[in-house]
């Protein structure tokens, strides 16, 4: 057989193996995390682990309810602020703003995406935390975490929502305007509903980013293990807890950290599958039309 056919055939299998790698990594992560988490889940019990209110590794108490609540609260807070801001900004970029404003705002959003999370954390710590302390409490708090996270997930919402608003066919707008709608009515009643699957996907992805964020929150949220009762109290979400304790944890404590990772992993898979489903549905809807 000619050499080039040999190369052709062997390269095909090499390429196939490379493609399998990404799937293999996912499986490896899932298997490894589960395996390491198993001792903790068996010893502590799933319910005691999920619903326990005390996290004291030194005395063998491993309850992550305060962490789960911390993650839920800080994520919800950030989403409440970031969604109106982000979707508004996406409409501005896609429909309203003149070219000059777009040329200024779009690179700004792009830079916001790229800024390392530790820089967000640093600015939060030196700028936001003292401001929160003025209002009351220790400053390192849920509120500071929410503000920092809002800034971090904003660009995700803006860029994906903008793309999906842009993807709405021109004829929709023309149709609405021809029926006598104002610009705003055509945007609100026609363009936004048509783009809703993309916008929903952007929000779900932003939730995923907020749930997984660790380092910026370590710096501003206080990391106290009690359940926060007001926005001015410190909190301790799931992801930052893993980051803070991994390097020195041993034995059951270490296994418990992996169990937290399993909780995060399950959360993220649910969130991402939702996002993928929403986007597929959006894509199918567009094909049908």
């Amino acid at each position: 057989m000619k050499k080039r056919y040999l190369i052709d055939r062997s390269s095909r299998s090499v390429i196939f193996i490379l493609a399998l790698a990404s799937f293999a990594i996912l499986v490896a992560i899932a298997v490894f995390t589960l395996k390491e988490a198993l001792p903790a889940l068996q010893k502590i019990g799933l319910l005691d682990f999920l619903l326990g209110r005390e996290w004291r590794p030194s005395s063998g108490q491993f309850g992550i309810l305060p962490m789960i609540l911390g993650t839920v609260m800080v994520t919800t807070g950030a989403i409440i602020f970031a969604v109106p801001l982000g979707v508004g900004c996406a409409i501005l970029l896609a429909e309203v703003a003149p070219q000059r404003v777009r040329l200024l705002l779009r690179p700004a959003v792009q830079v916001l995406v790229g800024i390392p999370s530790v820089v967000y954390g640093l600015v939060g710590l030196v700028l936001i935390v003292p401001l929160v302390r003025e209002i009351g409490g220790p400053g390192l708090s849920l509120a500071a975490g929410v503000i920092v996270l809002t800034a971090m997930i904003l660009p995700t919402i803006i860029s994906i929502s903008e793309d999906s608003i842009r993807a709405v066919p021109r004829s929709y707008r023309e149709g609405a305007l021809a029926l006598g709608a104002t610009d705003w009515q055509s945007m609100w009643r026609v363009v936004l509903p048509a783009a809703r699957s993309g916008i929903a996907a952007s929000i779900v992805l932003a939730i995923g980013r907020a749930v997984g964020e660790a380092m910026a929150l370590v710096m501003v949220i206080g990391m106290a293990t009690a359940i926060p009762l007001s926005p001015l109290d410190p909190a301790r979400p799931l992801a930052p807890s893993i980051a803070l304790e991994t390097s020195y944890a041993t034995g059951l404590h270490r296994s418990a950290l992996f169990a937290i990772a399993v909780v995060l992993f399950v959360l993220i898979i649910i969130i991402n599958s939702l996002a993928i489903m929403i986007m597929r549905r959006g894509a199918n809807a567009k094909n049908v039309r």
Binding site: S22, L122, L205
Partner: protein, 283 residues
């Protein structure tokens, strides 16, 4: 309550929308402005070229940290580029429309959303402890490569798919094998697009902390081999904030990070514009 007329509703709504744009821009201005204004005065040639001396006041500069960041990124790219581009070639050129392909695609998409710290914990368990690579640059690079893989696959696959069909047909018609078509025609044509993806990954790698924090150890000494520990710029900033009170040094490190990111963004924009022009301009 009287209904608002359509015109005043529109005015109000547009005002709100402009408001959101202004707020977003202000957020960026505050973050970048604050770090630049506060941090730039501490940047000097000696800050960039002396090693950090450690201690509570965070004395010294960031020279070893810069070296370590470059070392880590180089190694990560050497691992992730062949893997990612190979997988992208498979998905765009070879993959049959079957269950396994769907599984690979789904795996990649889910992998893209897994939090950095979960990658970190995985890297810690597999590379640092199970494979005995210790807290090292190699462990960090392997972990970071896993994290960046889905991003690179997606970018490269898009670049390959953007190459017009006629290129493939022309190569095959000349008697090239599939691999020759891929290697001599598609890859060169998609190169700027793939390069954009690689630079994007470098940008993410520069900003990444969580997954490296638990796999690289964090010593500030100059790395001597793949197995020595290390500290990247982002990790250094985190260390300064958490373990010292040297906020001015942290801000100066932040300036270096922001400038790097802006430069990387400018480079990707320039490359992707060129790529688009090449693919649509018929050149």
């Amino acid at each position: 309550m009287p209904r608002m007329s359509a015109n005043s509703t529109q005015k109000l709504a547009l005002a709100c929308i402009w408001g959101t744009g202004v707020v977003t821009f202000l957020i960026l201005l505050v973050i970048i402005g604050y770090v630049l204004v506060q941090g730039v005065s501490d940047i000097s040639w000696s800050f960039l070229t002396t090693a950090p001396r450690g201690g509570l006041s965070g004395e010294g500069g960031i020279s070893t940290v810069i070296v370590c960041t470059l070392y880590l990124l180089g190694l990560t790219m050497a691992i992730v580029v062949p893997l990612g581009v190979g997988a992208a070639i498979y998905l765009s050129e070879y993959a049959p429309d079957n269950r396994l392909t769907h599984l690979i695609r789904y795996g990649t998409e889910v992998l893209a959303g897994v939090p950095s710290i979960v990658f970190g914990l995985f890297g810690f368990a597999l590379f640092v402890t199970a494979l005995h690579l210790r807290f090292s640059i190699l462990s960090g690079a392997l972990t970071l490569a896993c994290l960046l893989l889905p991003t690179l696959i997606r970018a490269s696959e898009e670049a390959l798919r953007a190459v017009p069909r006629s290129h493939r047909e022309a190569a095959l018609a000349l008697g090239a094998t599939k691999w020759q078509t891929v290697w001599r025609v598609l890859l060169p044509a998609a190169l700027p697009g793939i390069a954009t993806g690689v630079i994007l990954c470098i940008g993410r790698g520069v900003g990444e902390t969580a997954c490296l924090f638990v796999t690289m150890g964090g010593t500030s000494a100059l790395p001597t081999s793949l197995f020595s520990g290390g500290r990247t710029l982002s990790m250094h900033l985190l260390h300064l904030v958490l373990d010292t009170n040297a906020f001015e040094k942290a801000l100066a490190t932040g300036v270096v990070l922001i400038i790097t990111i802006v430069a990387i963004n400018a480079m990707t924009n320039w490359l992707s514009q060129r790529f688009r022009a090449r693919m649509t301009g018929g050149a």
